[in-house]
Amino acid sequence: MSALIDVDGLTRRFGDFTAVDAVSFQVEPGEIFGYLGANGAGKSTTIRMLCGLLAPTEGRATIAGHDIARDPRAVKRSIGYMSQKFSLYLDLTPAENLEFFAGAQGLSGAERRRRVRDALEHSGLDARRDTLTGALPGGLRQRLALASARLHQPRILFLDEPTAGVAPDARRAFWRDIRAVAAEGTAVFVTTHHLDEAEYCGRVGLMVDGRLEALDTPAELKRTLVPGVFFTIDGDAPRADLRRALDGAAGVRGLQPFGRRLRVRLDPDAALADADALTARLADAGVADPRVEPTTPNLEDVFLELVGREAA
């Protein structure tokens, strides 16, 4: 089966500024594709082009086989879209919101009523169908927005920062919904700046200054981009002391603050790449009672590595 999202050399310039620079990728049915990057890296511009909202300057893309530049209306029929800024009308009830978005997709009559009812039940909103949407908690609102983007059963979902401003518990619930949607064969394209969420994605694309700098599964990105062994160091000593003890030492590839602790990345074959060696080194530097734990790389390490390369 061919890819539902097929992007080739997609570029968008605003005057002299290149917001999206020759981006290419494919997304298959049932895949969750995470699109990561800092604010202004070109995530929303990409999504707006793929939803037929913005014409590309160069390159091409097809959504469910429809060319985004030549047939944006067919594209819009195939997709569900949750924008970053707006998802629902807060002065309407959940039922009214769903009725409206179903109507905007051309659904009517018994079919519309059935899908609205299902969506309300599915998002656990049946009891609150007549409260105003603005009075619902953020997480519930986002689940409702997801349901409203899916009323016409699109094969492709575009979610632009769907969990911005949502509490961690509600974020996890939302991602359960997304995984369930993908399991039904829908291609999900999701942007986020929560790097921990990207671990839920089948593949992740990393955008830096409009360019897609890396694209792979989270595990593969970590293996290829941030090879090495990772430790977290905890203790009563101030973090600055820990940092001073290790900065510039042989084999140290990176030092990152992580909560109260410090994350260290080391070359696998370095002398210090061992919990005991590291503890001894810290003790030599006068750090009292350091606790050294081996850990695994995360996507934040990958992202920082990429941004660091870009800056260098």
Binding site: A55, D91, A102, G106
Partner: protein, 368 residues
């Protein structure tokens, strides 16, 4: 049902829900016409009567007394004081005891008998120039009402104001008021509702559905079109019941013209909102481009014929003047479609330009 209709209807239903959730807006939209009508109908009347008059009769003859009596016979002037001379009447005007003074010279009767112009003077308080103008008009109308010409036949000059015999300004004002109310509601509310979609980011969400731009426009504006027609009905009903507004022409034609005008106003509101894309800015632009023309350039209060050429041109570009003209023709003169065709053409042209500019702008903004 065709998908285009389904989508348009969904937008209209959603807009109605927004309106329902905003009772203040709805109250404003429905009460404003009535409040304005009462205000203009009762409080702000351009008709004057019971003007306090000081009488200076230096002649003291039967003829001079007859003139003074004639002047104060109706409701227009009320005698409040007698003064021995014009000089003595001035302080009465200054103290606001009288607004006008009738000064009859001491050779009034003799001049009348000789067939010469009889010297009569009306002093008016020029500080209030609209009262002054009205008082002078009334006074000369009364004075020439019956002029005795010695040696000849007495003749009478009779004037009669057609269509509004009592020259009641309320009747004259209602068409203008209708224009005023419709511009406030139609342009303002349209501008706000579309700008709001931009502000909360929902316009982009709408664009990501298969809904066409024209469907968005029609669906969002349909409820305001109906609301506007309800207001026309309100003003008309209140005008007929409270102020004996005559409806001499066809009601169907009246609503036809009002509908056309409403479309033009919705078009203007739409253009304002797609250009400004902010509620704050849209409401300010709406006030400047609608209230001012409707109040000052519609012929509502100030006759357009007496304006300098540039203002006359401007008044003719804005549809408010054409609505006022057409409504007066239909309501007061009982004219048919032929008499209002030119005004309707001008309103339709304005609507076409607004719509074309809006759609052009609507598309350009989205592609950017």
């Amino acid at each position: 049902m065709r998908p285009a209709l389904i989508r348009t209807a969904a937008l209209a239903v959603k807009e109605l829900a927004h309106i329902r959730r905003d009772p203040q807006m709805l109250a404003f939209a429905l009460l404003l016409p009535v409040v304005l009508l009462l205000l203009f109908g009762y409080a702000i009347s351009f008709d004057l009567d019971h003007i306090p008059l000081a009488v200076v009769d230096r002649d003291q003859t039967a003829d001079s007394r007859a003139l003074a009596r004639r002047m104060t016979a109706g409701d227009l002037f009320v005698p409040v004081a007698d003064a021995p001379s014009a000089e003595a009447a001035v302080p009465l005007l200054r103290r606001d005891v009288a607004r006008a003074a009738l000064v009859i010279d001491d050779d009034y009767t003799r001049a009348l008998r000789r067939g010469e112009p009889a010297p009569v003077q009306l002093l008016v308080d020029g500080a209030d120039n609209s009262t002054a103008a009205v008082a002078m008009g009334y006074a000369s109308a009364i004075a020439i009402g019956r002029v005795e010409v010695p040696g000849g036949l007495p003749y009478a000059v009779r004037s009669r104001a057609l269509f509004n015999p009592a020259l009641r300004s309320t009747i004259f004002i209602i068409p203008g008021l209708m224009a005023l109310i419709l511009v406030i509601i139609a342009v303002m509310l349209t501008a706000l509702t579309v700008a709001r979609e931009y502000e909360r980011g929902s316009m982009e969400q709408l664009f990501a559905t298969p809904t066409r731009r024209v469907e968005i426009i029609l669906g969002k504006l349909a409820p305001y079109f109906v609301l506007g027609l309800v207001q026309v009905l309100l003003v008309l009903t209140a005008g007929v019941t409270l102020f004996d507004l005559p409806v001499r022409g066809s009601l169907l034609l009246l609503f036809g013209v009002a509908s056309l005008f409403l479309l033009a106003m919705l078009g203007q509101g739409l253009l304002i909102s797609v250009v400004t894309r902010s509620q704050m800015l849209a409401s300010q632009v709406a006030v400047i481009t609608t209230l001012l023309p409707a109040l000052l350039l519609s012929g509502f209060i100030f006759p357009i014929e007496h304006m300098p050429l540039p203002l006359r041109v401007l008044a003719n570009v804005f549809p408010a003047s054409h609505l006022v003209e057409a409504l007066r023709a239909i309501l007061l003169r009982g004219n048919g479609p032929a008499a209002v065709a030119a005004d309707c053409g001008a309103i339709a042209a304005f609507f076409a330009v607004m719509l074309a500019l809006s759609i052009k702008r609507f598309q350009r903004v989205v592609g950017a």
